[in-house]
């Protein structure tokens, strides 16, 4: 009997996605799907889709889904998880959605320690609306609303969400990964697995930022886009685990008397 060594995860639907050639959303979908399969979570998972390129994620995952308004996925996830703590709830959000319009929702979701998992896909640009500047756009990076390159004097520096959230005292698992090489993808999957595992155990809020490519709006072929991630994004957005729930230095303070 031949052994099946590679197949579509059951957590992904057998459909063609609308993502552009060379975009790494597909890889990240697959990694999430594999983790849900391996942890046996598919049947009790509810995903929350954002507004942005992954707005149609509910058509690609073989789980129940809710489509949130722009930036509010962590609030929607809070509602689901508080209503049904037995469900596994994850949001899948881009950088415009999470780091710009949804900054309040992600900060407070993390700070309340909601037992949900956030998959944060950072490609340093607004993809779906056609390549506008995002809060994560790199200095001097060209976008349609900064055609001469991002001027940090006018628009500030790119926001490092993982570092920002890691300052919160509430226990959490917060990490940053990338998928521009197979090795990075393998590491990203391990982080996603840890993130979901924390939710299964009810330990804490968990989030994995994944550096992603946008060949279409960056205006370069997919291979070059992967090199661009390595050269420009990874130095500014370092990879690794930034916060774990057992981080003793951030243990809760004594309760007020």
């Amino acid at each position: 009997m031949p052994e099946t060594v590679f197949q579509r995860p059951e957590s992904l639907l057998p459909v063609v996605t609308h993502y552009c050639p060379g975009c790494t959303h597909g890889v990240i979908h697959r990694l999430v799907g594999e983790v849900l399969d391996e942890l046996g979570l598919r049947e009790r998972t509810v995903g929350v889709a954002p507004v942005g390129c992954s707005v149609l994620a509910y058509n690609y995952f073989n789980t129940d889904f809710q489509e949130a308004s722009h930036g509010r996925a962590p609030a929607v996830a809070t509602g689901i998880k508080r209503a049904r703590p037995d469900l596994i709830v994850f949001t899948y959000q881009g950088d415009g959605d999470l780091a710009s319009i949804g900054m309040a929702e992600i900060v407070h979701c993390a700070n309340r320690g909601e037992k949900v998992t956030v998959v944060f896909v950072n490609n340093a640009i607004y993809g779906m609306t056609g390549g506008q500047m995002a809060p994560t756009t790199m200095p001097n990076q060209v976008a349609t609303t900064c055609p001469l390159g991002r001027d940090v004097e006018q628009t500030g520096h790119p926001i490092r969400v993982v570092e920002l959230l890691s300052t919160l005292r509430t226990p959490a698992f917060i990490a940053r990964a990338a998928v521009h090489t197979p090795l990075h993808a393998v590491r990203a999957k391990a982080m996603l697995r840890q993130a979901f595992q924390h939710q299964v155990e009810g330990t804490c809020f968990s989030m994995v930022e994944v550096l992603s490519t946008c060949p279409t709006n960056w205006g370069m072929p997919p291979g070059e886009a992967c090199d661009w991630v390595e050269k420009n994004m990874v130095p500014y957005y370092p990879l690794g685990v930034f916060k774990t729930p057992d981080d003793i230095s951030r243990a809760p303070l004594p309760k007020a008397q």
Partner: protein, 362 residues
């Protein structure tokens, strides 16, 4: 159950719990803070959960998630907070999610003031957010009625899979009155199990996707017409109004809702003692609006008087009902000032003496 003396806000909270509400998401704003405060203590006692959201925007989206997973859920706020929730309310209506929203209105626009008002009538009844949708709007005039309507609101929301708004002015929230909760109350509508809710896909039903995005215009048109059919059914089946003295003869018909109608009813008693005959139609549902009842009652009167705590919002619906067959007069106090029975009495007398100018809606 024995009658209890309760503050309106607390009665609203207790009514929600009696109706099976187990989740509350809200953000502090005067003059309705007693509702979230009550819920934060009471919900954990019945196995429920209370979350103080970071904003009304977030609260309305938490409602979306919780309702989308099939639970009975409520929020309360006051006027500026409802404006912030309007994003969520539009998505809730689009995704056909049942929730109960309580607006204890304060005077606006902008930050306005914190005292009672009815200045959100347009916002409540004419959309209030982007897109083509309606809220079912219930307007209580007493603490007891607020408690009853909140319980009905959960049934109506579930039945129509649509947000239901309980619209009270600041008086309803703050005053104390005796309230009685019905024991073993049965739902006011026949309700189906929420098989559409996102509770995990095990293959025993279609995959649940809670969503208001329809990129195909033909599909969205079908969705819009489906929503329209629900709003039409509300107009057909859910109109509620209270009529006082419309069986007898009268010269002036008063149309007022909420606590203003109570002030008017006091004025009507005094006018009766003076031999002046009036009647009142008090809309309880503001959408759907009781146009037929207002039209019928107006036909028996010489003139119609609309009394509001706004500079004239519900009067447009009265005008639609009366269709220029009777002169319409208007009296209001705004900015948090209240209408007094004496003002209503003086206005009715002025109308009958030909000393009140009618409102021209032609």
């Amino acid at each position: 159950m024995a009658k209890k003396l309760m503050k309106g806000s607390e009665a609203i909270g207790e009514a929600a719990i009696q109706a099976g509400c187990r989740l509350f998401f809200g953000y502090p704003i005067t003059p309705q803070n007693e509702i979230p405060e009550y819920m934060s203590l009471r919900l954990p006692q019945v196995g429920g959960r209370f979350v103080q959201a970071e904003s009304e925007v977030a609260a309305s989206n938490m409602l979306y998630g919780a309702s989308g997973s099939g639970e009975r859920v409520m929020t309360s706020s006051s006027s500026p907070g409802i404006s912030l929730m309007s994003e969520g309310i539009s998505y809730l209506a689009g995704a056909e999610l049942p929730v109960v929203i309580v607006n204890i209105m304060r005077a606006g626009p902008g930050l306005g003031g914190i005292l009672p008002s009815q200045s959100d009538y347009f916002q409540a009844t004419k959309g209030g957010a982007h897109g083509d949708f309606r809220l079912l709007v219930l307007a209580p005039w007493s603490v007891q009625e607020a408690a009853n309507l909140v319980q009905d609101a959960f049934d109506l929301a579930d039945y129509y899979r649509n947000p239901v708004l309980v619209l009270g002015d600041g008086l309803i929230g703050q005053m104390m009155e005796p309230v009685e909760f019905q024991e073993g109350r049965s739902p006011c509508k026949e309700l189906q199990p929420k098989t559409w809710a996102s509770t995990g896909f095990k293959g025993d039903r279609p995959r649940a996707v809670i969503n208001s995005l329809f990129l195909d215009p033909e599909e969205l048109e079908r969705h819009n017409f489906k929503l329209k059919a629900k709003f039409d059914a509300m107009v057909r089946d859910e109109i509620r109004c209270d009529e006082i003295g419309t069986e007898e003869d009268y010269d002036v018909l008063i149309v007022a809702c909420g606590t203003v109608a109570r002030v008017c009813s006091t004025a009507m008693e005094e006018l009766r003692e003076q031999g002046i005959r009036t009647a009142m139609v008090r809309p309880v549902t503001l959408f759907p609006y009781p146009y037929a009842a207002v039209r019928r009652a107006a036909a028996k009167a010489k003139a119609v008087l609309v009394v509001e705590l706004s500079t004239g919002q519900m009067i447009e619906d009265v005008s639609l009902a009366v269709r220029a067959t009777r002169p319409i007069h208007f009296h209001c106090r705004v900015g948090g000032m209240l209408v007094s029975p004496e003002e209503v009495i003086a206005k009715v007398k002025a109308i009958l003496a030909g000393e009140s100018e009618e409102v021209d809606y032609a």
